[in-house]
Symmetry: C2
Subunit: 457 residues, 2 copies
């Protein structure tokens, strides 16, 4: 047992010699070492040391049916024998495009790419190509992939976030060109008055306003109807596109979170679950806007290609995954998730800890707060708060054998059942109790700290 | 037969209703309609209408062993049963990283991403994060993916390319922010004097100079030793990184095209073949530079993650592909390609047409020129030249059943043998003869047109 226990550690010792920090993705970085998977099935993941864990992260929301979903394994195994990519087209990309565009009334046309990052980047470029304008607006604190324009102010903190009516444009990476910052307007999510003022100040220059309707890193709460409608109305008056990032949120209803609003975006970025577990991204929307990429057009406003885009493996897996993620499957999954939230709220009460939950559909996020936050600045976690959240997540991982996203988030799959939900809520109760003193301590200092940070500007 | 012949056309009729221009990638767009694949094996691709073609494109150079390579099919089929992606690490990403870094002495560390576009974008961001500078230099005419900074002047033409000593910074897409253009220095490939002068003019601001050592769209000829050495020497004096785009060219030798030079880049972008037929990108290089992404570092200069990066399917397929693409396999493939070039040169002579070939390793490109071009501006094809090249490629596709890249390029796979090379050279001879009059005509007007375009500035 002891020898076995060392194998993830041993692989990591090799990993640090060839990968920066020993990892390929910073989201899976874990101290003292990350764990290496030997196999997974349904909602269970087994690491190389033999420990089996329930998976509530599902590769950052990308596995809607859990691991090794038999219909996907079968279909992909068949496709594999026929090849994985060609310099020609395949029928499955057309059938899958028909399926996805049928799910949302505003998806006239769709284009596939290889990641959520590529989806948002291409969508922004399409908006610029259509409008001929350069600037974009995005929410403070929102993660929209690694294209530097949409990374602006992704991790703004009290030291640098500036006044709420003019949030600072903070670069994420060192060396971000100043020109990038100048072309991005950072708005406070769900804050209608300040957002409209900011848009007004850039009225002639905005190609698009980018909204993630339930932004995970902002705090995983929904854009209000009033906010979306106000921004929509503004964009209609200023020849600006309204574009949604639904890479994560498309799971919430059959046609994405946009189904919940009376107004629809012009373009929508997709990713994660629509690849059936394989690398994917896509963006869909208005026919006239999407035609900027149509090679029949002259001039071609947005030349756009990609070696692996719409490869038949991703298309096959995604098509199977989404066909099986139908209205009933979504209802069931959302109901199960609602039950989980209710059970965890019960656990919070019983453990008597200052914790709260935000979320929608098949996902939710825990906050070390008495009440769920309603803005990025409220949701912002100071170092001590992050530390106690890490303790809770470590407790879940090591003691309860439950995997969650490193922000304290769960992204459900259809492979999860009531039994796993019971283990999750019981596990969290244990974690809350084990960290009760510290949770109370950070909560006691919350108001003081946040008052100092002046979240309302 | 006639009914069958219509099936690609029929699928395309559906495709245009849901995909812009009916395609997912503009590189596979083909008039009157693209062809849909039913299956492929080795070097043969069969379309849905039953026509079998020899594949010399290999999904834009990404299938080094051709289609459905049995060792890859076997390994991926096994991995599929264990899952395709986790929110944890896998051993195969470490073993594959060890393999790739062992192939080139300057690959200290590596990070995987999902496409060549992501590889070059991340590499540029890493160079900026390391140096704290904003600008990059890239070659006129060079394709380096769809990140807008590296798209600048990708398709410059006589109407807009400007003087050779100061090539214009032309946006590729409509709506490209002016700030993007300001942060890109466009240099004339292999032109030492003008390039060094341009670098000097931006001496304090350059994060990196990006070189594709055998740039396909520039004309598929190699960077000269003197050029690479001169740029390298310049970067050493100015705290600027030398970065290579070897997404395509890594196939040319065991350690990439960089193996041919006495000096080595600081970072290198990889893609295509290293995914074994699955979506992939990577960048590798100096340990101190790569540490900008190390999550142990504080501050973290380049926060960087990706949902599907280093997924175990791509890692498994890529690792198998590259282990089997060893020194001997590369020698054999390059020899076969050299024989193909020699046979085609013979065909050019026999057909007595003004055609030429450039290339290196396992790839080459045809040019409607008496002598192979040595600069982007020489290689640039006017409308009439493009039209005759399209006729040649259509002849190859429809009459000879041979697939080439839409630029008149062949990217070999190890599945190709002497028999296919014979069919290629014979097919090209037929195509040359069928288009001889037109080839002579465009050649007669070449000097006049190019003199007018003033390629030497």
């Amino acid at each position: 047992m002891n020898t076995e226990k060392k194998s993830s550690e041993k692989i990591y010792a090799d990993a640090v010699t060839v990968l920066p920090g020993g990892v390929s993705r910073n989201t899976i970085f874990h101290k003292p070492f990350p764990h290496y998977v030997s196999g997974a099935s349904g909602c269970m993941v087994t690491d190389i040391d033999g420990t089996q864990r329930i998976d509530f992260a599902n590769n950052m929301a990308s596995l809607i049916h859990g691991h090794a979903y038999p219909p996907i394994v079968e279909a992909v195994t068949e496709q594999l024998k026929k090849g994985t990519a060609y310099t020609l087209a395949t029928e499955v990309e057309v059938r899958y495009a028909q399926h996805l565009t049928s799910r949302a009334p505003d998806f006239d046309k769709i284009r596939f790419v290889n990641s959520g990052t590529e989806a948002v980047m291409s969508m922004v470029k399409a908006a610029r190509a259509f409008t001929g304008k350069s600037k974009i607006a995005k929410a403070e604190g929102s993660y929209n992939g690694t294209y530097d324009f949409v990374e602006v102010s992704q991790v703004s903190s009290p030291e640098n976030w500036g006044p709420i009516d003019h949030p600072n444009r903070n670069p994420l990476a060192f060396g971000t060109p100043p020109g990038v910052l100048e072309d991005v307007v950072v708005y406070p999510f769900n804050d209608i008055e300040n957002t409209l003022n900011l848009l007004d100040e850039n009225a002639d220059d905005l190609a698009c306003v980018l909204i993630d309707p339930i932004p995970h890193r902002v705090g995983l709460f929904a854009a209000t109807d009033a906010f979306v409608e106000a921004v929509y109305a503004w964009t209609r008056k200023h020849d600006t596109l309204l574009v949604f990032d639904e890479v994560i949120t498309f799971r919430t209803t059959y046609g994405g979170a946009q189904q919940n609003y009376s107004v629809k975006p012009d373009l929508t970025a997709l990713g994660k679950l629509i690849g059936g577990g394989f690398p994917v991204g896509a963006f869909a929307g208005r026919s006239d806007v999407m035609s900027v990429m149509d090679p029949n057009e002259s001039p071609l406003r947005l030349p756009h290609s990609g070696t692996f885009s719409a490869n038949p493996i991703t298309m096959t897996a995604g098509y199977v995954a989404m066909q099986d993620f139908d209205q009933n499957a979504i209802l069931d999954l959302n109901e199960l998730t609602a039950r989980a939230i209710s059970q965890i709220n019960e656990a919070i009460k019983l453990a008597d800890v200052p914790m709260s939950i935000s979320g929608l559909g098949s996902m939710f996020r825990l906050h070390p707060r008495r009440n769920a936050p309603e803005s990025y600045r409220e949701a912002f976690q100071f170092k001590e708060e992050k530390a106690v959240m890490t303790k809770i997540l470590d407790h879940m991982f090591y003691k309860e054998n439950i995997i969650m996203v490193n922000t304290g988030t769960c992204m459900f799959s259809t492979a999860i059942g009531q039994q796993e939900v019971d283990r999750l809520s019981q596990g969290l109760m244990n974690a809350f109790k084990a960290n009760k003193a510290e949770l109370n301590e950070v909560w006691d200092r919350y108001h003081e700290k946040h008052k100092k940070a002046d979240p309302k500007g």
